[in-house]
Amino acid sequence: MAVPAEYYLVLSAGLFCVGLFGILTRRNALIFLMSVELMLNAANINLVAFSFQWGNLTGQVFSLFTMALAAAEVAVGIGIILVLYRNFEDLDVTKATTMRW
């Protein structure tokens, strides 16, 4: 066991934060989507790493599910982003503000 488990936690946390940072700072819907993918993968790192740590495969299997769902999410997301572009002629998520308060 070369790398202590805590390091994976730090790595995944870092990745999670990068994703979060992307969400908070970027306005492009596609980049928003990518950032979410980063965050999901941060979870995957944990799951895979600790699956090994605890000696069961549950985590690894679950990470496969997560990836599949991430893909599905992207599919739905792209669809929504498409209609967004059609209606607002922009991919900027901050432009769609017809409803507020």
Binding site: A43, I45, T58, G59, L69, G79, V83, R86, V93, T98
Partner: protein, 505 residues
């Protein structure tokens, strides 16, 4: 009583029949769609969906009466190696989802008149409900996440269903973005809990924590709070509620009703099970985090924000959206008071009852909005002026919904709201009780604004109700009658919910 799912009567897997009925109906709809993709025959689609929904509701109701998965018939039925569980609570919520679905599909028959892609609409709805049904029986964090996504992804599409309507698209976008963010928070939380315990199955997690084998409490604690975040998103609770006002306002009104009632309830059932089974208070307190405190804070903030923001809205639909946030706050009381409750199963049961009643009265209210949209009545309170002179029956139903939402004894909302107050009092949660009182007063104010507009104000004559859509009317009136009947016949609901909740402790 002989258990229904004993070897002699029915096989074990049939306990999932309500969910299976929904899934099957979704597939049937796909088949219909593939046979005739351009069909605009909404009658067939809505009919099939409704039949599926009613079948699901019927089966879950039958199981509830028969005692499937209840302690009196041998306890919860675990399926697929404990990944799913069917017990009273699961069936209770399946009944809620299916009933709401049935109302919504009936109403959609008129609402979607002339819209393309109806088959997709109905199958998405059925799939989302299937996801919710699975959420109700999810017994592991893995199935929880998967079913949550199964419920969420169709919902995103449903909200954005009116793809040429800017509001609908904007709502879909916001719902989707916040939803994606929240689910990544949720799954990250799951990964942290897995990191700390090495388990995903709920009961196993509790065992590990209880045995003291868990890793760093900080990791576990952060994981739990992130799971709190995940369910807060699904239940539209502060601070994960931001999607809700826009999504409910922008979405087609039947979808709003569906989401704000069924989807919210699904979030709650998930929360009930995860927190009482995986992180029981007696195990978790002192080790990682007393989530009761977290939920108390969220409950107070949620009901306050929801009601205060609702009080000054200009449009009815958005007011209902915020009120829906407020009701999430009420339902959270059940979780929040568990630590101090004299009677835990009653406290949790009160939340369950509230969600059931809420399923009818809130869906009904949104469907009335759908009716108004169908007639082309405007969105604001003023636009509803004098509506009662033209549609007295629908307005009576709407009055029942609103006053029931406000907790007046004209609908079942009275019981559930006061039961929640009883639960808060019983746990000596004075803060929650006080918040409930203040917010309830405010809610009375804004709900009665609609009543005032409909009944008291003079119509300005700007519209004429020309037709009375059968489907919408049927749905609204059914919801109204159900809401009223729940006032009189609340006994079985109360007993079932309390019994079902008791199994979690």
């Amino acid at each position: 009583m002989i258990p229904l799912q004993s070897a002699d009567v029915l096989p074990q897997w049939t306990a999932l029949a309500p969910a299976l009925a929904l899934a099957t109906t979704a597939l049937v709809l796909f088949v219909i769609d593939s046979i005739d993709p351009d069909s605009m025959d909404s009658g067939l689609l809505a009919g099939v969906s409704t039949i599926g929904a009613l079948a699901s509701a019927g089966i879950s109701g039958w199981f509830l009466v028969a005692g499937t998965g209840m302690s009196r018939t041998g306890g919860a039925i675990e399926l697929f190696g404990g990944q799913l569980v069917v017990d009273g609570m699961a069936l209770f919520f399946m009944f809620v989802f299916a009933s709401v679905l049935a109302l919504v599909t009936v109403a959609s028959y008129d609402y979607l008149e002339g819209q393309p892609h109806q088959a997709e609409y109905y199958s998405l709805m059925l799939l989302a409900t299937t996801g919710m049904a699975l959420m109700a029986s999810a017994n592991s964090l893995a199935t929880a996440f998967v079913s949550l996504e199964l419920a969420s992804l169709p919902s995103f599409a449903l909200v954005a269903f009116l793809k040429n309507n800017r509001g609908s698209v904007e709502a879909g976008l916001k719902y989707f973005l916040i939803g994606a963010l929240s689910s990544s928070v949720f799954v990250y939380g799951i990964s942290l809990v897995y990191a700390a315990t090495g388990r995903l199955q709920l009961a196993a997690i509790a065992d590990v924590i209880a045995s003291g084998e868990a890793l760093d409490p900080g990791v576990l604690g952060v994981g739990i709070l992130m799971i709190v975040g995940g369910v807060a998103y699904k239940t539209a609770s502060v601070p994960f509620h931001f999607w809700a006002p826009e999504a409910y306002e922008g979405a087609p009104a039947p979808v709003s009703g569906f989401l704000s009632s069924a989807s919210k309830a699904a979030g709650f059932v998930l929360a009930f099970r995860i927190f009482t089974v995986a992180f029981p208070l007696d195990v978790i307190t002192g080790v990682a985090v007393d989530w009761g405190v977290a939920f108390t804070a969220l409950a107070v903030l949620t009901m306050t924000l929801g009601n205060f923001a609702a009080a000054t809205q200009d449009t009815v639909k958005r007011m209902l959206a915020y009120s829906s946030i407020g009701h999430a706050g009420y339902a959270l009381i059940g979780l929040a008071v568990l630590s101090g409750a004299a009677d835990q199963s009653f406290a949790l049961g009160a939340s369950m009852m509230h969600l059931l009643v809420y399923g009818f009265m809130n869906t009904g209210a949104f469907l009335f909005v759908a009716l108004a949209e169908y007639w082309g009545v405007g969105r604001t309170f003023e636009d509803y002026n004098g509506l009662a002179t033209q549609a007295p029956i629908a307005c009576t139903a709407m009055t029942v919904f609103l006053f029931s939402l406000a907790g007046l004894p004209i609908g079942g909302g009275f019981w559930s709201k006061y039961f929640l107050l009883v639960a808060a009092t019983g746990a000596s949660a004075w803060l929650l009780a006080a918040a409930l009182i203040v917010n309830s007063a405010l809610s009375l104010f804004y709900y009665s604004r609609v009543v005032k507009a409909m009944w008291i104000e003079e119509p300005d004559g700007s519209f004429e109700v020309s037709s009375y859509p059968t489907g919408l009317y049927a749905a609204v009136i059914t919801a109204g009658v159900m809401t009223f009947l729940l006032l009189v016949g609340f006994g079985p609901v109360s007993a079932t919910a309390t019994d079902a909740a008791a199994m979690l402790f």
